[in-house]
């Protein structure tokens, strides 16, 4: 392969995690109009951050996660810093549990994500209550977490080949 093309190919592969994070932010910002769920949409960035933090933590540095979180806050109209804070906490937790989760069955990974998603919903709800100095009903936070957990297998069917393709860029 032409050295310039090979270099461009390698750079593209390295940027795969960042690309999926950007896509997750864009998908979280559009209206779905899911019946009975009101304004709740899946938290796609949470899935992407958890997945990459487990499988390729070196490719999602904290500064990138911070930037992605702030971008989602700005696009969705939430308080800037709120999503960034949640994503950084999830990243820290996922990286600390990486050795336990990596190499386990898919069901264990999914269960791990479910725990993290519900935990993030509880932290998000507490943050929202403190930020607004009001008691907000927690149901929408939990519904969002459950919806996100339900979509984890679908999202990982896209993320797994993306991770495999990205890994091919690494020198043997």
């Amino acid at each position: 392969m032409n050295p310039t093309l090979a270099r461009a190919n390698a750079i593209l592969r390295i940027l795969v995690p960042f690309g999926t994070l950007l896509l997750a932010v864009a998908l979280s910002g559009i209206p779905y109009g899911i019946p009975f769920l009101g304004p709740v949409t899946p938290f796609f960035a949470l899935i992407a951050i958890f997945y990459w933090s487990i499988h390729r933590p070196e490719q999602v540095p904290a500064v990138v996660i911070f930037g992605i979180g702030v971008l989602q806050d700005l696009i969705t109209g939430g308080p800037p810093g709120s999503i960034a804070l949640l994503l950084l906490l999830v990243h820290a937790l996922a990286v600390s549990q990486q050795r336990i989760l990596l190499g386990q069955s898919y069901l264990v990974e999914w269960a791990g994500f479910a725990l993290v998603a519900v935990g993030a919903a509880v932290v998000g709800w507490l943050l929202a209550c403190v930020y607004n100095t009001a008691l907000i009903l927690p149901w929408h936070f939990l519904v969002q977490a459950l919806l996100t957990v339900a979509l984890y297998p679908a999202a990982t069917t896209v993320l797994t080949p993306a991770a495999r393709w990205s890994r091919a860029a690494e020198p043997a």
Binding site: S28, I30, Y32, G33, F66, T76, G78, L85, L88, Y131
Partner: protein, 291 residues
């Protein structure tokens, strides 16, 4: 040379881990600091947000279309299933509206005659621009939507946003090509309203749920289930008489209002350009003195 390199390498790994942890802590602190800054509604945060939205709007516009097309298709199928019943209902409603039309025509003539007698000042004209919903709040933090229309299209901060059913909310941020609407259901939404039949004034508050609350009603015990709530026009931001909803329940002395607009089905909305004379005069800069 090799042992030294190996030693450096062995030292570099824990140093890198330490730096990463330190960076993580700093960024967590930065997120909290950003939240506190944004709480003060800093102008710079609003400027950055509108700039980012202007850049993201074309992308959101494109990727939101398949989801909205799917929603429209689902809605259409539901409508086809219910077409017979809907036709009957519309026939009855048409008869009722014809009766109202004749009453309205008579009242319009009467009103014009009384206004001429009183030499009343005409109501300010209302024009509008239309916009498509391209972004949602994406989560339970806030109740806002983003539109693909901005200041270049005539959208102004503070303008009322409506659909054919009633009031949706108001413009809180307007970029060049996009704007953000604070929905009536948001925790920070406050709208001066009036009970249509009794003319009692109140403030309608959102609380991040699907129902709204009436507060500061005087007298509170005069509110009845089924009363229609419309904008009062106080403050000059919204035109008077925009329909909002109906009182659906009264719990612990608080009237709960069900909005007429279905917020989960918002697609196209209208942004009202309401030129209230007093406010327009305040916003217009004073002419420069002649040199």
């Amino acid at each position: 040379m090799r042992p030294i390199g190996g030693r450096i390498g062995r030292l570099a790994v824990p140093l890198r881990v330490l730096a990463q942890r330190f960076a993580l802590l700093i960024l967590i602190g930065a997120s909290i600091a950003l939240m506190i800054t944004a709480k003060g509604e800093h102008w710079a945060v609003e400027r950055v947000r509108t700039t980012v939205m202007d850049v993201a709007a074309p992308v959101l516009d494109v990727i939101s279309r398949p989801a909205q097309a799917l929603n429209s298709a689902t809605e259409r199928v539901t409508q086809i299933v219910a077409v017979y019943g809907e036709n009957e209902r519309l026939r009855e409603e048409n008869e009722r509206l014809r009766a109202w039309q004749s009453i309205a025509r008579r009242l319009e003539t009467e009103n014009a005659a009384f206004r001429a007698l009183l030499r009343a000042r005409p109501e300010p004209g209302v024009t509008y621009v239309s916009g498509r919903v391209i972004g949602d709040s994406g989560g339970p933090w806030v109740r806002t939507v983003a539109l693909n229309a901005g200041e270049a299209d005539g959208v102004r901060k503070g303008s009322a946003v409506v659909t054919g059913d009633g009031l949706v909310g108001r413009v809180v941020e307007s970029g060049d090509r996009s704007s953000r609407i604070l929905l009536l259901t948001d925790l920070n939404s406050r709208v001066p309203v009036v009970v249509e039949s009794s003319r009692y004034r109140a403030i309608l508050e959102g609380d991040n749920t699907d129902t709204l609350k009436l507060s500061f009603v005087i007298p509170a015990d005069e509110i009845r289930v089924g009363d229609r709530i419309v904008t009062s026009g106080s403050g000059g931001l919204f035109p008077a008489g925009l329909p909002i909803g109906e009182v659906s329940a009264i719990k612990d002395g608080t009237a709960l209002v069900t909005p007429l607009v279905r917020f989960d089905r918002l697609e196209y909305v209208r942004i009202l350009r309401f030129d209230f004379p007093g406010i327009e005069a305040e916003q217009t800069p004073a002419p420069k003195a002649a040199r």
